[in-house]
Each structure stands twice: as C-alpha cells, then as structure tokens.
Amino acid sequence: MNQGRTSRQSFLGPDSDERIASITVGVVGLGGGGSHVVQQLAHIGFRDFVIYDDDVVEDSNLNRLVGGTSGDALSLLPKLDIAQRTIHGLVTGARVRGFACRWQNQPEALRECQIVFGCVDSYVGRSELEVSCRRYLAHYIDVGMDVHGTNPPIIGGQVVQSSPGGACMRCMGYLTPARLSEEAARYGEAGARPQVVWPNGVLASTAVGLAVDLVCDWTKKRRRAEYLVYDGNKGTMLQSVTLNHVDLASCPHFPVGDLGEPFEVEL
C-alpha cells in the first residue's frame, strides 16, 4: 500500500511498493549514466541492489557524476562508495552488494538480479552483459550516450531493453558488425569520450521508466523488447526504425532453453 514517501506514485498500482521492493536490481557502471540510474531507483523504492564499478571519482567526472562532490574527487573516492551513499541515504535497510571490480570477475551476485542496467562504455561489454542476463533469465536494460561530429556536435544515445525470449540487441539492430568491428579496430579504446549530465539524465530516466513498467505493469504495454534512440539536438526519444521489421517476441541467437550453468558437448 502506497503511504508517505510513495503516496505520489500510487498510480503505479496498489501493490507497487511491494513489487518494487521485491526486485533485485543490478547496475553495472556507476559513472555518468549509472549514477543517475542508482539515484532514481533508490528514490522510487528499490531496496535490493547489486552494483559494480572499479573506478574512482576524479575532477573530470564531476560535470556528470550524480551524487559526487568536490571532496569526493579530492579524495579519489570510489564511485562504488558514492552509489552506496546515495542508496543508503534514501532507503533505510537497503541491501547493497557492491563490487569494486569488473562484474566478470565476480558474476555470481549479478545472476540474482531480475533486472540489470548496463551503463558501460563498450559494445563488447554490453554484449557480455546481455549473454549473462539471458542465461539467468534477467531483463537487460542498456543505457549509453555519445557526442559526435562538429558544427554542430550531435548528442545521441540509446536505451535498449533486451528481455528473455524477446529480440536481443543484435536482432534489434543495435549491436551490429559495423559497430563491433569499428570498436575492435580501435582495440576497444573508448578514449576520453564527451559526456554531459543532461542527456545522461534523459536516458537514465527513460531506462528506469522501462524498468518500473516491467515491475508494476502500470502502462499494460508488456514490452517484449525495446530500442529507443535519443536525439539530444532535437530533444526526441523515438523508437528505432530498425524495429520496423523485427519480431520482438523471439530471438534466434539465444535459445530459450539455454539457461543456467554453461553446457558443453564433449567431442
């Protein structure tokens, strides 16, 4: 029952508080995108978190790292600590399992999540998260932004929902050979990519909105998959045209029964 703090979100449903509190949510990457996501999830009432980031806050992060302070940058505070501070400051009794490492080095906790937010820099990293989520029947919500071109620069971004049994990021035309090849040709180096707080905010908010709908079903849309493209110059968030001819309810890349511990055939 929605009371007090959550009384203004009662439109999400009479049992929305319990539904939200029942979810184990993962956030991989606690930088510009992930810090927004964590803050919003805590505000809404999620209380069981699994979070990963092995980086520390620096001055150059403060233009976008939500919750970070100048003092944090001076002391090179781990981004993980900022996320934990945000969550515990909003959610009494929150369960936060935080890992100051790559998730691939300690993946077992992430498997317990029903929803995982990927706020990472590389296409390969996104692909790895999606594989893990498919294997353990979790929704994967990807968030990312970039700035490209000049005169004027173009702010772009995406929010992708890849769900068990539904179209994956390859099906939806987000993870393409062109993107993966280009990244491999750069040897995976992202470099100092332009990042600013307001597109991160738009994208994180959209991603969290998708997650809340998966939990509370308040729109009744029951999305099997989603790929939203952000145009920061026009201020639009539109469904990608690549979905026009995609069956969102199926995926040939992830067989539905391929779940659990990896299985191999001895030859």
Binding site: E108, R111, Q114, L137, S163, L259, E261
Partner: protein, 172 residues
Amino acid sequence: MIEVRVSREMYEAMRADLARPHEFAAERVGFSMGRIGITASGCMILLTRYCSVPDEHYIDDPTVGARIGTDALTAVAHAIYHGRAKAEGVFHVHVHEHYGKTGMSRTDKAELPKLVPGFRSVGPQAPHGIIIWSLDHAAAWVWLPGSSEPVRADKTSIVGAPISVFREEWLS
C-alpha cells in the same frame, strides 16, 4: 538460498495447460525441466521447458484431484534421460486454486515426494523437485544433486512483463 526462476512466457503456457478441463480428472499436473545456475547466495533453478501430460495418461481416481499412470512417468523418465548430458532435471507442477501462500496438501505430501527417487535415479546429476502454484504465489521444493532431502526454495521469480517475485520470508 535457492531461487526458482521461470520466464513469464513459460509460466503462462504452463498455467494455461494446467487450467484446461479434463474428462474426469479434477485438476491437471505437468512437468517442468530445469537446470542449476550458481549464484552468490546459493543456487537458482531455471526452468527450461514445460512438458504437458496428455489426457490419456491420467487415471480415473475420484479419491484424488489427479492421478497419472505409468505412461506419464515413462515419458518423464525419457525426458530426464535425454536431458542428462545437460544435467536437466524435472519438477512436478500443479496448481492450488486459491490466492496467497500455498503448500503441499496431505495428498501431495503422501504422493509427490515418492516420485523424486525415480527422477534422481535417471538423472542423478540434475536437480529435481516439486512446484506448486497458487493463483498469485508459489512454493517449491528442490532435491539438489547428491542430496536425498529437499530444500524449500526461498524465492520464486517469474521474469517477463511483468515480473513477479514470491518470497518465503514475507509469509512469516
């Protein structure tokens, strides 16, 4: 901690199958195949596929809600055998038509655990067990490989749109 996790799609197919009327059985049963996943808190049973019990495999026994015959159990044994390489086990599934917390009825306690040794003999490396759905909750018992005693699942999750999570500790 043990969690049982199923996709919304499979759950709804399972529920639709179990809701079908039968000529003489008061209720239906089914079998779900499942595999183990290792988690930080313990393990997860991920349901991989659902096997419906054909009408003709039921036995007319008015003393119980549903009774299945040896044909049904032979089919289950075949499914376990074919899933052995993948360590895919079987879970007996049925529905209790009420809301809220559920558990094994007297008949369930008397009959269902007796099935598991047979499952384990065909697929000793796989998990096996029992899942009971209420109209809005679930209870599950899991026999892990190497263990002759079941463990009650702490949580059951239906992942899809929407997500539903049923936790044992909320019931206390």
